[in-house]
């Protein structure tokens, strides 16, 4: 880097500080003006939008121009070794970019979305928490010091808890919040343990200075397991996912977009930071463990998603799936790293980072879409929706774009990263030993099922919520969402398409991370790299979404013209759907979301354990039902067979202990203290 660049560069730290200050001032100002709801709404969202726009520009510049260096900001606090220190390298900058991008869109969206909280909730508090939440996520991914990281992590967890329970009068929200806070703190405990171990064995708390070479093998393994559990909880990896499908739907729409879109990605950041940056890639079994967990999460997450009829729950479970896919990429990269195959490691890591970006865009879009539906109809239950494509055409279009992306259909962005993950799997299978081949092939098969089930889930969601006839009056009277909300979704939908057609430009942003983590570049393997062609590992295959788009753009008019020519004499007529000769088809005769998923429920009944309940109220004749009520439910196996036994045994233990120790008499407690003090005195005397 030339010298004058370095001189320029010192200014960049101020930009970063400025964006954090913008968030914090947005938070405080929105609290200050909380008397005026409109004022709070405007202040909070404008500040957040401005800050995140700054963040986007800052990160793009960092990743494209200053990707050879990292920024450091240090503020001493006087308590060693805790200092407020930021260390922004390419990995951090990438995550800040992802967070800022979604935060920007969510802020625009919130301006409209918050209106339905007017007069029922305190907008000022929401704006405060909202800004603080984004700021804390940015602090998590930019902190340069393990202690500051933990502080930021904890702020993020707490603030997100308050946002989850924002609609706190609903009992299910409270329950979701409780489960969330418990799970997230279990995770945090493991992260703290891992970090303390790192600190103890390296004597250094700063991410940039930690040198892990002195850590013994066994301790490294322990650190890895702890951080996998800790970050896995945040990521919602099976079987630590149980909070995710409860907490994300409970939060307001814009918050669930941020939580699912970016907050859970901080876990991926943590894993990458620990495994690649601090521990240097790891051992074979680490990667294998991450890979297997990822594969299981992908399939189990989407299998649960397919059964949900609550749009946001379905989306939350699908986040579990996508985190699984991200973990598959990270696992493959770690495997390649431990085998010394840097090029493959780079490819896999890139695939996974690409998916992180793509998932945050399309999952953000889908959650915002679900928020719009909730805004307009007041329900998230797709069985009570229907026909929204006519009432909310733009929302429907944007939601469809998100659904196409998440189903990994070209030319949308989900396809590109899924393709890259498949290529990484393929290349790893080609280089690994027999066992590795079996594991990878099984993962690929799981990923294939997950892909189809994801498509099926979103066909179900879109088909029941947006298509056909409205099922309730709420759906019938729905109105299109306000412009700001549409604008937010529109930006993301456009981004889905753009990132799907021009993925290589995204790779250029990502490449700095590879050079930083693995000292290699994705562009060095394939010769003659065009910016429109995406090459696989060692260039052995390639796709060009841009060429595909061109083919599509040429073929569609050609086909339209040809069809018009061939059927020029035929007419077009609207008529009712075929109703088998009955008088009229009504919305109750449509296929339902529950019905749509039934075949899969039956085929995989061993996993789902469906239970049905049929209540029939008969009228005067036994052949005519007055009312019938059919209820089908699936068992969430992890809650039933993993968590419930644990919780039950803890509760039983506590109950028994309470009878034994906790007598309720203060004197007994005092005697405990007394005895302990005496015992300590005597112990000290003996020693």
């Amino acid at each position: 880097m030339p010298l004058d660049d370095i001189a320029l560069f010192s200014g960049y730290e101020y930009i970063f500080a400025a964006l954090l200050i913008l968030y914090l001032s947005g938070a405080l100002l929105s609290l200050l003006v909380c008397r005026s709801q409109k004022g709070s709404n405007a202040v909070a969202n404008v500040a957040a939008a401005a800050a995140s726009l700054t963040g986007i520009i800052f990160c793009v510049c960092k990743l494209l121009i200053y990707n050879g260096r990292s920024f450091d900001i240090n503020l001493k606090t006087g308590i060693y070794p805790i200092s407020i220190s930021f260390h922004i390298d390419n990995l951090s900058a990438f995550f800040v970019l992802v967070i800022s991008l979604l935060a920007f869109v969510a802020s625009i969206y919130s301006m409209g979305y918050l209106k339905h909280y007017y007069n029922s909730r305190n907008i000022g508090v929401f704006g405060f928490l909202y800004n603080l939440f984004i700021a804390s996520m940015i602090m998590v991914v930019t902190s340069g010091n393990i202690f500051f990281f933990l502080v930021a992590w904890e702020i993020m967890s707490m603030v997100s808890y308050f946002l989850v329970v924002f609609e706190n009068e609903k009992p299910e929200t409270q329950r979701a919040g409780t489960i969330y806070i418990i799970m997230t703190h279990i995770g945090t405990a493991f992260i703290i343990a891992a970090f303390v171990l790192i600190y103890q064995y390296t004597g250094s708390a700063s991410f940039a200075e930690i040198n892990a070479s002195g850590i013994p093998y066994a301790v490294k393994n322990v650190i890895f397991i702890f951080s996998l559990i800790g970050f896995g909880t945040k990521a919602g990896i099976i079987p630590l996912h149980i909070w995710l499908p409860k907490a994300h739907p409970a939060a307001p729409g814009n918050i669930s977009a941020l939580m699912s879109g970016v907050m859970i990605k901080t876990a991926a950041y943590g894993i990458i930071r620990i495994v690649f940056d601090i521990l240097g890639g790891g051992y074979l079994w680490w990667g294998t463990a991450i890979l297997l967990l990822g594969g299981i999460s992908a399939i189990v997450g989407i299998a649960f998603a397919f059964m949900e009829i609550d749009i946001k729950k379905l989306l939350a479970y699908s986040s579990v799936e996508n985190m699984g896919i991200i973990f598959i990429g990270i696992g493959l990269s770690s495997i390649a790293c431990s085998n010394g195959n840097t090029v493959l490691a780079v490819f896999s890591l890139t695939a996974s980072l690409l998916h992180i970006f793509n998932h945050s865009v399309f999952k953000g879009l889908l959650f915002l879409g679900a928020g719009s539906v909730h805004y307009s109809t007041g329900t998230r239950n797709m069985e009570r929706l229907g026909g929204l494509i006519r009432k909310m055409p733009y929302t429907a279009m944007f939601f469809l774009a998100g659904a196409l992306s998440i189903s990994a259909l070209p030319p949308f962005n989900g396809f590109v990263s899924e393709w890259a993950i498949y290529q990484a799997l393929f290349a790893s299978a080609g280089t690994g030993g027999s066992w590795m081949k079996i594991i990878i092939i099984v993962t690929a098969a799981l990923l294939a099922i997950a892909g189809v089930l994801a498509a099926a889930s979103f066909i179900k969601t879109f088909g029941t919520a947006f298509l056909a006839l409205p099922r309730t009056s709420a759906a019938e009277e729905a109105k299109e969402a306000p412009r700001t909300m549409l604008a937010g979704m529109g930006i993301l939908a456009a981004l889905c398409l753009a990132a799907g057609i021009f993925p290589v430009h995204l790779l250029k942003l990502l490449d700095g991370i590879n050079r930083e983590m693995l000292n290699a570049s994705i562009f060095q393997g394939a010769a003659g790299y065009s910016s429109l062609v995406l090459h696989s590992y060692e260039g052995n295959t390639s796709i060009s979404p841009a060429a595909l788009a061109i083919i599509g753009l040429l073929l569609i008019p050609a086909v339209l013209l040809a069809v018009r020519y061939m059927s020029k004499n035929s007419s077009f007529r609207n008529y009712g759907t075929w109703d088998c000769g009955y008088r009229r088809l009504d919305s109750r005769m449509q296929y339902t979301a529950t019905g749509f998923s039934k075949p899969v429920r039956i085929v995989f009944r061993a996993f789902y354990r469906p239970q049905r309940e049929l209540q029939i109220e008969r009228g005067s004749s036994r052949y005519f039902f007055k009312r019938a009520r059919y209820k089908v439910s699936t068992v969430s196996v992890f809650e039933k067979y993993l968590y419930e036994p644990i919780v039950r045994s803890v509760v039983n233990f506590a109950r028994r202990m309470r009878l034994l120790i906790q007598t309720g008499s203060i004197h007994t407690y005092l005697i405990y203290i007394f005895v302990v003090v005496i015992a300590m005195l005597i112990y000290y005397a003996r020693a």
Binding site: R658, I666, I671, F674, I678, L681, Y684, A685
Partner: protein, 222 residues
């Protein structure tokens, strides 16, 4: 002039004795009186220390502030508040004990001896005065704890708690000549808050159970 350590030694012995008096008492009114006396002695110790230091170093010493704070809180405010509580509740005399008073006093003597023995074993503590100070103050802590155990009425627990705090304060004052000012003030307000809360609890317990016998709290267990 007396030597500073001698005065402090005498005062600490007096404080310990006041603790024994407390254990020997069974009237709630005299609990409070004894506690007030003990706090006065403690304030005197802090004051003496402060005056000696000021005389020696010719600058203001924070021990004087401590002394004033003790007088304000532990001699005037807290005992006054406890008196008010006692007037509201009807129990003036402790009737049934877990351990009767003579045996209590013997146990307290045993505690003091145990503490002395342990302190004397610590190799880093040298000098008769220091051993004496520490023994007295930690014995005070132990006796306070024991007092809490042996009394059934809630007032007893409050007094015991305050005695423990006095013991801690004395240990800090006499061995290191006072903790940092900020820490001391922090502890003071902690104690104040704790006593206020406990006072409120005594009312509540009295209202709910028609008695301040904390054994009845056993019924709260679910």
């Amino acid at each position: 002039m007396f030597k500073l350590e001698e005065i402090l030694n005498i005062l600490s012995m007096l404080i310990l004795i006041s603790a024994f008096i407390l254990v020997a008492n069974k009237r709630v009114n005299s609990y409070i009186k004894t506690f007030r006396l003990q706090s006065m002695l403690l304030a005197a110790a802090a004051g003496t220390l402060g005056i000696y230091h000021m005389a020696a170093e010719r600058k203001f010493d924070s021990a004087i502030i401590m002394c004033l704070l003790i007088i304000l809180l532990k001699v005037i405010f807290i005992p006054g508040m406890l008196n008010r509580i006692c007037k509201r509740v009807e129990y003036k005399v402790e009737k049934d004990f877990f351990i009767n008073i003579p045996i209590s006093i013997i146990i307290c003597c045993g505690l003091a001896i145990l503490v002395w023995y342990v302190i004397s074993l610590i190799p880093d503590i040298k000098g008769a005065y220091e051993i004496m100070f520490l023994t007295n103050s930690i014995s005070l802590v132990m006796i306070g704890l024991f007092f809490m155990i042996s009394r059934k009425k809630a007032i007893g627990q409050i007094i015991g708690f305050l005695v423990i705090e006095n013991g801690m304060f004395m240990a800090a004052l006499l061995t290191t000549f006072g903790m940092p000012m900020i820490v001391e003030i922090g502890i003071f307000f902690d104690v104040l808050a704790a006593v206020l809360i406990m006072g409120v609890f005594v009312f509540r317990i009295n209202e709910s159970f028609d008695s301040i016998d904390i054994d009845k709290l056993r019924n709260l267990r679910g």
